[in-house]
Subunit: 318 residues, 2 copies
């Protein structure tokens, strides 16, 4: 695995961590941009300076963001915020890179959740490849495992794919507290956003399942968020968890992706089941044709965790 | 991933399953051998016939085993029984393939547990590559996950790596039965061999941990079985499990591999811990620098399961 030149778009937790960790994985960041600025350097952007400047002044450098897209690089790391519908500007960033035969590694879910067929068409026309491990399950190696087995040998991927919702449900269960109380606690801890709807309504988990179904369907069908059957955790009462506990069960927000369907909903699971992970941990369970059931769990989110998935993807490029 | 030509050495559960499943992964078996016979066919061995003949007559074909090694193939699949010390004849099979610039995929643990430095030296001199996912954890994608993260970012790999020993301990725990009783049950079920020592004395788990430490040490140190600190389950009394249960704990045979050490021993683990898998399931827990702790569990053994790991490795070759 030889070192690659990376152009990193997005200076949030993930983009910042990719820039910070790239050298320890043998790669060089030749461009780094946020929404209003960029740092470009053919022999490598000074990660510490750019991140300090972002922290102090709100910009990563003195160049324009467009300068990052037109810089010299082997791999575009797209870590700008996930957007739905037309998935812009992320989709255009992907197209720009593929049209110049560069590779793309996505942390941004939008392009592969909402415009998967378009992305795959651009990839077919390009010398570059598109990888997106970081869009599903953070640090957990889900897509690479499916790829190694071949999607044709995987009949379903299900699991706990949103740490915020899982933290809330597992705390409600262990502490006997109600939803509003635990949500407030989660917000205080920074585990839930001020507006938590993306997580607690199941949208984030649904986007990840849409991506999984797109992979499992192998081009036979294309899924978008609109195709997902989604129910979040906002209507799970504490009493439901107590009743479940009487039967040795608990409730988790479970997403399930098959080649034919995408569904997210709260489900009863045995308390000692692999799916009953605690706190913010995620788990993905793959049903495979020859390898039985594989369970992979780990941290589903976080800057270094997600950056680790991005950098693993860079390593898997030719 | 284009189809490869496979020469499969070994007609036991793993070799037989590789031959049976190869076509569904896009590959062609051009040679298939057991210890006394071979079937060779440039356009593909008839898997069903060869397996039926093995079943009925004890041979896979009318050719000599040497004819398989000298046949035309891209990848040698070495699935002959694991041997210790000089790891022969498996090691010579590996050398033969690499010297002709073919790739090697191992299910046989011997060469990478007992002669790792020799194998790596041969690989460096060859256009071919050596992969060995199937030697550790059966269907569980352990080595590919470590490879994607880079071994330098993984500080430890620990887990339950022998299904027989785990079945015995978890049955002792849930049924309150003693070791001899559960071992006899396991033998009746075919989960334990008539001579179970390789499994219950911890040797099998130790070989897998030796392989893991060889990978994690990245050439700085070489480990063999002799370097492993090994204690099996033969002295775990039922009373120890009862005492553990009073504290919400149980006992599992845990192997731990780091760049600096290899150790297998029975250990106390919380009953609800990820490591407390039941039955014959295996689990590997990776401690990673940026991705936190990853847990991967699944079936640790079995013909199709291990063949699935072999065929995933074939898919990861150039």
């Amino acid at each position: 695995m030889s070192g690659k030149r990376l152009a990193v778009l997005g200076a949030g937790a993930v983009g910042g961590s990719v820039v910070e960790l790239a050298a320890s994985y043998g790669h060089t960041v030749t461009a780094f941009a946020d929404s209003s600025s960029a740092a470009v350097a053919a022999d490598g952007v000074d990660a510490a300076s750019a991140l300090a400047r972002k922290n102090d002044e709100g910009v990563v450098g003195g160049a324009d963001p467009e300068d990052a897209l037109s810089a010299d690089y082997d791999v575009l790391v797209e870590a700008t915020p996930t957007t739905l519908g037309d998935a812009e500007p992320g989709f255009s960033h992907v197209r720009h890179a593929l049209e110049r035969d560069a590779d793309v590694v996505l942390a941004n879910k939008g392009p592969v959740a909402e415009r998967y067929a378009d992305v795959m068409a651009l990839e077919r026309e390009s010398e570059g490849a598109v990888r997106f491990e970081a869009t599903v399950g953070g640090a957990i190696p889900v897509l690479s495992t499916i790829e190694d087995l071949s999607p044709s040998h995987v009949s379903a991927a299900r699991g706990v794919l949103n740490g915020t919702a899982n933290f809330v449900l597992s705390r409600m269960a262990t502490e006997g507290l109600d939803y509003e109380h635990v949500l407030a606690e989660a917000q205080d801890l920074g585990v839930a956003e001020a507006d938590p709807s993306f997580d607690v309504e199941g949208t984030d988990a649904a986007l990840k399942c849409v991506i999984l179904s797109n992979v499992l369907a192998e081009g036979e069908r294309e899924y978008t968020l609109a195709d997902a059957d989604v129910e979040g955790i906002t209507n799970v009462p504490g009493s439901a968890l107590e009743l479940a506990a009487d039967e040795g069960q608990t409730i988790r927000l479970i997403g399930e992706a098959t080649p034919d369907s995408v569904r997210v909903s709260p489900r009863l699971v045995p308390q000692n089941a692999a799916l009953a992970v605690s706190g913010t941990r995620n788990i993905v369970q793959l049903e495979t044709e020859h390898a039985g059931q594989l369970n992979i769990s780990g941290r589903g989110a976080g800057g270094p965790e997600t950056a680790s998935a991005v950098l693993s993807d860079v390593g898997r490029l030719d």
